[in-house]
């Protein structure tokens, strides 16, 4: 009897492995369901009231701000505490020469989203990590200095604002030599172009934890091998 006991091993017991597997699988199921609901809070769009409060207090409330964020100036600044750039929503600025009400802004953004889907932008571009890298990443395209005042895009399209430059370009992209692989003409109408620009501006205001990494690196920083990342 004593001899038999010595040979008893839990490691060869089926019941031990069965119970362990049941525990790990069961825990993983609960964890994934919990994680799914936790993510909902991170990706839900905020309200206009949240946005006004965030601007007034100068601190971020939602990762995804309300559509009315198109009425504000959006900047991209290095955050020392977080170790990467974060969108900073600043003072009000007109978008296509006016301030958009929450309803109008939501409708415009919706049109932009439908256009982006219908024209299959993701076939070449990347939006929030989804898509392709045949053409430039559009996640923070609104913040690209090339489209800002003094950048080559406003001069090329003969416009005075970022939104007008983007809208004009989108309606006739094959006319402007922007990239080695030029964008084809997709038949985007003037109204659709406005929607797409609103969509791009809103997307740039989303806090993506610094994605795409090193977007704001300047040519000089690349040359010296420097980085903003800590």
């Amino acid at each position: 009897m004593a001899n038999e006991n010595e040979n008893l091993s839990v490691w060869t017991s089926i019941s031990f492995w069965r119970r362990s597997a049941a525990w790990v699988t069961g825990f993983a199921v609960i964890l994934l369901i919990w994680l799914t609901f936790d993510t909902m809070g991170q990706i839900s769009m905020g309200t206009d009231a949240d946005l006004q409060k965030a601007v007034a207090e100068g601190k971020e409330i939602n990762r995804v701000p309300a559509p009315t964020v198109i009425n504000y100036h959006i900047d991209y600044k290095m955050s020392k505490t977080r170790g990467h750039e974060v969108p900073v929503i600043g003072a009000k600025e007109p978008f296509f020469g006016k301030e958009w009400s929450p309803k109008e802004a939501a409708a415009l953004l919706h049109l932009g989203k439908l256009t982006v889907q219908a024209k299959n932008c993701m076939n070449c571009h990347t939006l929030l990590g989804n898509g392709a890298y045949y053409a430039p990443d559009l996640t923070k395209a609104w913040l690209d200095p090339a489209w800002q005042k003094g950048g080559p895009m406003q001069a090329m399209t003969n416009t005075g604002t970022t939104e007008e430059a983007m809208a004009k370009f989108l309606q006739n992209p094959s006319q402007y030599p922007t990239h080695a692989r030029m964008m084809p003409n997709l038949g985007i109408t003037a109204q659709e172009a406005k929607g797409v620009v609103a969509f791009l501006k809103h997307m740039s205001s989303i806090d993506t934890n610094g994605f795409p990494r090193n977007f704001s690196k300047t040519v000089e920083q690349f040359k010296t091998g420097g980085t903003n990342a800590h």
Partner: protein, 51 residues
Amino acid sequence: MFGLIQPFTDVNHSFFGFLNQGPLTLTIFLHTVIVLPMIWIYFSEKKKLKK
């Protein structure tokens, strides 16, 4: 301490955000909840086998 515990800087506070703040916090948490019950299962199985 070795950057293991860092200040919470996430936008939306959540349990998972807290777990992901340091390089080892998530690992330690998962090992705790998976390995500790397995140790308990091990000894309970050993007791059963001895009987």
